[in-house]
């Protein structure tokens, strides 16, 4: 209860903070729309030469693209602002103040900031999913929607775990502003179903850097494709990744020597 109030307070403060930059909203909407338009144009070029790509139709890949933008939007709204602030504070030595606050440090570190304007990616991503499903004339049952929601939740949990683990590296290597770029680098491959990639890359993207569980698996569940054999593994991998990332964060925190001492 108290924790919910803490999150609410941070959320409100962030909102007030961001209303100072209202002009950003329009710029971000245009940027998101442009990015999605180019991506759809790219799909049109590919599908001008084929009917299926790695077994996926254009409409199914469209849904997957929507999932990609939705997750991307969540990352840039909540995750990257909060965790990048941790990186900045550790470097500047003000992270100590956060540790002194009477609330769990991980909760504060992960929810302190949110850049509400990037919600445009989330909304447009959802719209692309909707358009894709409409063109598929997919019969989405309540149960199907629930499975999709579960797969999305698992995907987002994996994203969070990867970001948290990369951020935790800051306790050893102070200058890691660019380390989160590694996530974006791998995440780019999530614009296409993992079946498209050659065997070694597919294994890498499924088991080592599980991008497959972030975009391919959720899109699989809702587009009526035969579920990937690994679907049942999604919640397990998500739970394991979260657990490992949280433990790594705690371990990192114990190694944190502060800037002033």
């Amino acid at each position: 209860m108290r924790l919910a109030r803490v999150i609410w307070a941070f959320g409100r403060a962030a909102l007030l903070d961001e209303t100072a930059y209202r002009g950003e909203l329009l710029g971000n909407v245009i940027r998101s729309a442009l990015g999605i338009a180019m991506a759809i144009g790219g799909l049109a070029v590919v599908f001008a030469h084929t009917r299926v790509l790695g077994g996926w139709t254009m409409e199914q890949v469209l849904v997957l693209l929507g999932v990609y933008y939705l997750v991307n939007g969540l990352v840039s709204t909540v995750l990257s602002p909060s965790l990048n602030k941790v990186v900045q504070e550790v470097r500047e030595g003000t992270f100590d103040y956060m540790l002194l606050k009477p609330a769990p440090s991980l909760l504060l570190a992960s929810t302190r900031r949110f850049v509400v304007w990037h919600v445009s990616d989330v909304v447009l991503g959802a719209a692309v999913i909707w358009v894709g499903l409409a063109r598929l004339e997919a019969n989405v049952t309540l149960a199907g929607a629930a499975v999709f929601a579960a797969a999305m939740t698992a995907g987002v949990a994996i994203v969070y775990a990867i970001w948290l683990a990369l951020t935790t590296l800051v306790f050893w290597f102070v200058r890691v502003e660019n380390i989160t770029m590694i996530f974006n680098l791998f995440f780019e491959t999530g614009r296409y179903p993992v079946e498209v990639y050659p065997f070694w890359l597919r294994q890498l993207l499924t088991f080592v850097f599980p991008v497959a569980f972030i975009t391919t698996v959720p899109a699989q569940t809702i587009t009526g494709r035969e579920p990937l054999v690994v679907l049942w593994a999604a919640p397990l991998i998500a739970a394991a990744a979260l657990l490992a990332a949280v433990r790594f964060w705690r371990f990192g925190l114990r190694n944190y020597t502060s800037a002033s001492s």
Binding site: L34, V45, T50, G54
Partner: protein
């Protein structure tokens, strides 16, 4: 404002920028890694489409050769001015450079070249490994290699001028990034990134042939892989030269207007 001719200044600038880049080699390397991701994704996509057959006459091995060349060409033609020269203008760091007897555009050029040179040292081992593993088959001939060098030089120059042109918008707006994103988006679609230009359907293909984006990226690759008849190579080189000249004039005009604006603000 007059600038003394001669290369002593630019060369000194290049040495300084080189030392600066070497300091940040890890960051430089991380940025350079971006040059791999798109070619790998689209190499995979088109290989999946082609399967055992071909797409518009291009087989899997052709896509491998195309996108491996793409990795090198896109690194050599990347424009970073929007992140280097743009902020210099925006935060007033341009001012001291205006006092020097050398055109400030040389600063941008020196930084561009030193970024590419430093990153290339780190990229060459990876490129070599990829070539050894994937063993692309090139339809290159001595003539196509010579023409490739020529068109590559044109592409490097054109993309630098384009990057500088968009960076100069920072004289007027703090949001020059948005227009650059449109340019990059068009390069993605029409420049030979999402697909070799010859695979672009209908009007997209015609647009790509006329607009400048292809001549900053895809054109040299097509030339090297012998995908174009001689007439189209000549036409492409002429168009590229035309775009370089046009871009140079535009950049010069925008610079003159911008620098007047900059002084007028009193920055």
């Amino acid at each position: 404002m007059t600038f003394r001719l001669g290369l002593a200044g630019p060369l000194a600038m290049l040495r300084a920028e080189m030392a600066d880049m070497l300091q940040y080699r890890v960051v430089v390397f991380l940025y350079a890694l971006w040059g791999f991701i798109h070619p790998i994704v689209y190499m995979a996509v088109w290989s999946a489409v082609a399967g055992e057959g071909d797409v518009g006459g291009l087989r899997q091995s052709d896509f491998t050769a195309y996108y491996l060349t793409f990795m090198i060409v896109s690194h050599l033609t990347v424009a970073i001015e929007i992140y280097t020269f743009g902020p210099m203008i925006q935060y007033g760091r341009l001012s001291p450079h205006l006092l020097r007897p050398m055109h400030p555009v040389w600063v941008a050029a020196a930084r561009n070249l030193s970024y590419k040179a430093v990153a290339v040292l780190l990229l060459i081992p990876i490129w070599t490994a990829l070539f050894l593993v994937l063993r692309p088959e090139f339809g290159a001939t001595p003539a196509s290699i010579a023409l490739f060098m020529l068109s590559l030089a044109g592409a490097v120059l054109l993309s630098f001028l384009a990057g500088t042109g968009f960076a100069l918008l920072a004289f007027w707006t703090t949001r020059s990034g948005s227009s650059w994103e449109i340019w990059m988006g068009l390069t993605f679609l029409l420049g030979g990134q999402v697909a070799p230009v010859e695979l672009l359907p209908g009007v997209m293909g015609q647009l790509a042939a006329a607009l400048p984006m292809r001549y900053t990226l895809g054109f040299p690759i097509e030339v090297l892989l012998n995908r174009l008849p001689p007439g189209e190579v000549a036409l492409g080189l002429a168009l590229q030269a035309g775009w370089v000249a046009a871009a140079a004039v535009i950049v010069a005009l925008v610079w003159r207007a911008g620098i007047r604006h900059y002084e007028a603000v009193g920055a």
